[in-house]
């Protein structure tokens, strides 16, 4: 079989277009009841008193969980709000849970709870927090890293750019709200949860409730979007489990849309100062990228915006610094291309500013500072074909027709601008396990505990198994999203394919070998007495290579051999020494055309062209989906998304989809994506580097640079709204 790389349609497409795909809130079970969160209305302080007497008497109410009566969970992390004490750390923090027969009864009872607070002075001023900010790390990588002599080089630079770029708080807002159904059976807990990390959540829940991991099962067949917010375990899931234990019935909790703006993560606000030095010819001599980003007062999360500066250009003197500011807000978390989306915005706009100061084409400036090796470690890349991306994307976009001067291109009354930026995202891989099973009915099952979040992994799993086994994809079924299956890593960091497909390949090889060994040993088989090398398995038939007509169907073979499935399981670890030998990143080039109404200010992104170097593309259709989706997130970052915090109460005031603007269809013009299809087999046998996040990187800068080209106005605070452009 040769299905890898082909535009195979999603195998879960039919389920999704008929309403048959079941998301986590859509499981019914006898006795199911409903939980509703009560959230704090102050940003800092403590609960001085809570009167839940009316709520308890309200119709249908089964339980009210409060800090007074909630089950004690020794060792509960401070980041989770599990009613273990009276402290309030942010506005919107869960402070009570009401469980009732019906959802509306739970809602009504929740509204009857009266809470008195003792309010403390909250930390809500981001910039005022800079002096007391502190260093941090991101996934174990230190926030501060420097090489060369930045100060000295900046002093000697012919040309300098020194600017501050800011990005606001974002909330992920997948279309499917967070949801969980928790059910206890003795000491066994089953949770249906919309999650990006069922294995991780299982481990945390087991620890919280003091039971064996094997006693906890997480199930998630489809995720209705996540973008990072469904990666960590948030409070509502253990709260549902606590409620289920208390009422001894299955409990469902579904967050309301406004509840998606606080207790379930956010992209933190960033303030990025970029100081860039260059020679008169445009060679970079120094870059200092100094980032401030916020976190909560209960957990450190670092938005690693300066990380892309460590890899993007050849520069002998680089300093990347991150400082975290504690605020009384919900803990932020990974949001599509964490760090990289916000960081490439700042770096790539600074590069555009430098190009204008040098009187140089911005694409030329990037080519002039191209690096063949990782500038920090000097290691070679596992594969880097960014030059081809620039060339091809520039050609497809028509970049050579650009006139350099701002405000020099027009379409009627509209100002037209063209901008460019570089995209990048690290390629990662984690340990993963998978099973491949030959079933008595002659079909094949491929299974691993990963997550279908719109990434198309059901389809990729089947393609991988089809090619590894020489079996038509039509004969293969895929199963995922269940901790009863061999575990897979968190679906995040664009690493699912790189992690999961090697495990599937190895499991397939094992089950195939096992089958052939059984077949040659079986006196009833037409391949009996041959050596394993002399026989083969293809399209459901076991046969001798030299006389393929002497074959037997898989199902018949299994039936004769006891009717039991034949199975191969594999756990595959990435090569940890790879990091000592290579740097591994994806790259891309993105070009944007905008039109700006000079009188009224609105920007339209008319077209975007991007070309990616992401290793092997496993499925053209699902890849194109991911690239376009990422670019649209980049447009949202540039022009729309902005969570407004009330400076006194720490409440997000636009906590709904009418006022929190995600890109709508009228915001999207033409998007042309393509990929350079060169496999990177250092990272994994299929040569795929992952594609879920790179599309958002660079795009906001390309749009911002195009707006500058259109208008001559350099807006350094995202989003670039009409009011900022006509100010």
């Amino acid at each position: 079989m040769n299905t890898i790389g082909k535009p195979i349609s999603r195998v879960d497409g039919k389920l999704k277009v008929t309403g048959s795909a079941r998301y986590s809130a859509e499981f019914d079970m006898p006795g199911l009841c409903y939980a509703v969160l009560v959230q704090s209305t102050i940003p800092a302080g403590r609960i001085a008193g809570m009167d839940d007497s009316l709520a308890r008497k309200a119709a249908g109410v089964l339980a009210v969980l409060t800090p007074e009566n909630a089950q004690r969970l020794p060792g509960a992390e401070k980041r989770l709000s599990l009613l273990q004490d009276n402290q309030v750390y942010y506005n919107g923090q869960p402070v009570a849970v009401v469980v009732a027969e019906k959802l509306e009864e739970a809602h009504h009872a929740a509204s009857l709870i009266k809470i008195r607070y003792s309010v403390s002075a909250p930390k809500l001023d981001f910039v005022a927090g800079f002096p007391s900010s502190h260093p941090g790390n991101h996934n174990g990588e230190p926030g501060d890293m420097s090489w060369g002599d930045v100060d000295g080089a900046l002093k000697d630079s012919d040309i300098k750019i020194d600017q501050v770029y800011t990005t606001p708080i974002h909330h992920h807002n997948p279309m499917e709200p967070h949801a969980a159904i928790a059910q206890w059976n003795g000491d066994e807990l089953t949770v249906h949860e919309s999650a990006q990390d069922i294995s991780g959540h299982r481990a945390k829940l087991a620890k919280l409730f003091g039971v064996q991991e094997s006693n906890v099962r997480l199930i998630c067949l489809f995720v209705g979007g996540g973008f990072g917010c469904k990666g960590p375990l948030w409070s509502h899931v253990p709260l549902a489990a606590m409620a289920a234990r208390q009422v001894n019935r299955p409990v469902k909790i579904v967050l309301e849309r406004p509840q998606m703006f606080g207790p379930v993560g956010a992209r933190p606000r960033t303030h990025q100062r970029l100081t860039v030095g260059a020679t008169r010819e445009g060679k970079l001599t120094a870059i200092r990228h100094e980032v401030h980003a916020h976190t909560s007062v209960i957990e450190d999360y670092l938005e690693s915006s300066a990380f892309p500066t460590r890899v993007m250009y050849g520069c002998p003197n680089v300093s990347t610094i991150h400082r975290i500011v504690d605020l009384n807000l919900g803990t932020p978390t990974y949001t599509r291309a964490p760090g990289v989306a916000t960081g490439t915005y700042a770096l790539e706009v600074a590069m555009d500013e430098l190009a204008y100061k040098l009187n140089m084409d911005p694409l030329q400036l990037r080519l002039l500072n191209y690096t063949e090796n990782d500038p920090q470690t000097k290691l070679p890349f596992t594969g880097k074909h960014l030059r081809d991306c620039y060339t091809r994307a520039a050609e497809r976009f028509g970049w050579s027709n650009r006139t350099r001067e701002p405000r020099s291109m027009r379409d009627g009354s509209q100002l037209i601008g063209w901008g460019v930026a570089t995209e990048t995202y690290p390629a990662n891989r984690r340990p993963a396990s998978a099973l491949v099973r030959f079933k008595p009915d002659g079909r094949v099952l491929v299974a691993t505990g990963t997550h279908e979040i719109g990434n198309g992994i059901y389809t990729i799993m089947i393609q991988t198994a089809a090619d590894a086994l020489n079996v038509s994809p039509d004969l293969i079924d895929a199963q995922l999203g269940d901790t009863a299956l061999p575990p897979a890593p968190i679906t995040a960091g664009s690493m699912t394919v790189a992690s999961v497909t090697p495990a599937i390949q190895t499991a397939a090889e094992r089950v195939r070998t096992r089958l052939l060994q059984m077949a040659v040993a079986d006196s009833g088989s037409p391949v009996h007495d041959a050596s394993v090398d002399e026989v083969d398995f293809k399209d459901g038939l076991i046969f001798r290579k030299l006389s393929p007509n002497r074959s037997e169907k898989l199902g018949d073979f299994i039936a004769r051999n006891g009717g039991q499935p034949i199975e191969g399981i594999a756990h595959v670890e990435p090569d940890e020494t790879l990091k000592q030998k290579f740097a591994s990143h994806s790259f891309g080039a993105v070009f944007a055309e905008v039109s700006v109404d000079p009188d009224l200010g609105p920007t339209r992104v008319r077209r975007v062209t991007a070309v990616y170097d992401v290793g092997k593309v496993l499925n053209e259709k699902t890849a194109r989906s991911q690239f376009i989706g990422g670019i649209v997130w980049g447009i949202g970052l540039a022009l729309h998304e902005d969570s407004h915090m009330d400076a006194r109460t720490g409440r997000i005031v636009n906590e709904n989809l009418a006022d929190y603007h995600v890109p709508v269809n009228a915001d999207i013009g033409e998007i042309d994506v393509s990929a350079i299809d060169i496999a990177d087999t250092h990272l994994n046998p299929l040569g795929a580097r992952g594609i879920g996040e790179i599309g958002i990187t660079g795009t906001a800068a390309a749009v911002a640079n195009a707006i500058y080209h259109a208008t001559g106005k350099r807006i350094r605070d995202l989003p670039i709204t009409p009011q900022k452009l006509i100010a």
Binding site: P7, S9, R10, D12, G13, K14, L15, K16, V17, T18, G19, S20, A21, Y23, A25, E26, L103, E104, P174, M175, E176, P177, F222, V223, G224, G225, F227, V254, E256, R257, R396, I453, G454, G456, V617, E620, K621, T622, A623, R624, S625, I628, G629, I631, V632, N656, L657, A658, V662, P663, V664, N665, A666, I668, I671, V673, S674, A675, I676, D677
Partner: protein, 177 residues
């Protein structure tokens, strides 16, 4: 029990061509009745504020946000949900096209997009892209970037007009395959 029962209304609803008698509290939205009382979970819950379009269904053939309509208001009207879009003959051409072209990505917004597009094609069998955009303007999608949705509606419309069309063949590598 009796007091509880008296809080419920017994209503006859026409859903996907079938007459169903269902008892529910009169304040329940059509979305809640569909999802919770009738287990028709193909209709999705996105914001319950009429902002995201995810819960759209057809009532007497017209798109309606089921989170903003009471279940009682649907009495005597014809409600079509995603579960009623396919017929005995198979999937609706829109469903085929959405599945084929990856217009359903995470899939959560897809049922509503499909029903709204169905109504569009019934009124206008040959919509141009701007007309498609306008018809679908009440629906948010966070995954696809909308483009594959337009392409799917265009493909389905052409097939429904009886044109022998195939999906575009340009590959992601930037050349014709």
């Amino acid at each position: 029990m009796t007091s509880k029962k008296s809080q419920k209304s017994l209503v006859e609803l026409r859903i996907n061509g079938e007459t169903i008698e269902v008892a529910f509290a009169p304040h329940k939205t059509l979305l809640e009745v569909l999802r919770e009382d009738l287990a028709l979970t193909g209709t999705k819950h996105g914001c319950e504020l009429g902002e995201c379009g995810t819960c759209a269904v057809l009532v007497d053939g017209l798109p309606v946000l089921s989170c903003l309509v009471l279940g009682l208001e649907a009495e005597g009207r014809e409600v079509t949900t995603i579960e009623g879009m396919a017929t005995a003959a198979g999937l609706h051409p829109l469903q085929d096209a959405f599945a084929d072209l990856g217009a359903a990505q995470c899939g959560y917004c897809s049922p509503a997009f499909l029903l709204v597009a169905k109504e569009l094609l019934e009124v206008n069998p040959s919509p141009n892209r701007d007309e498609i955009r306008e018809a679908l303007s009440g629906n948010l999608c966070r995954c696809t970037g909308y483009i594959k949705i337009y392409e799917a509606v265009e493909l389905a419309a052409a097939r429904m007009r009886g044109e022998a069309v195939e999906p575009a063949t340009e590959s992601i590598y930037g050349f014709e395959v």
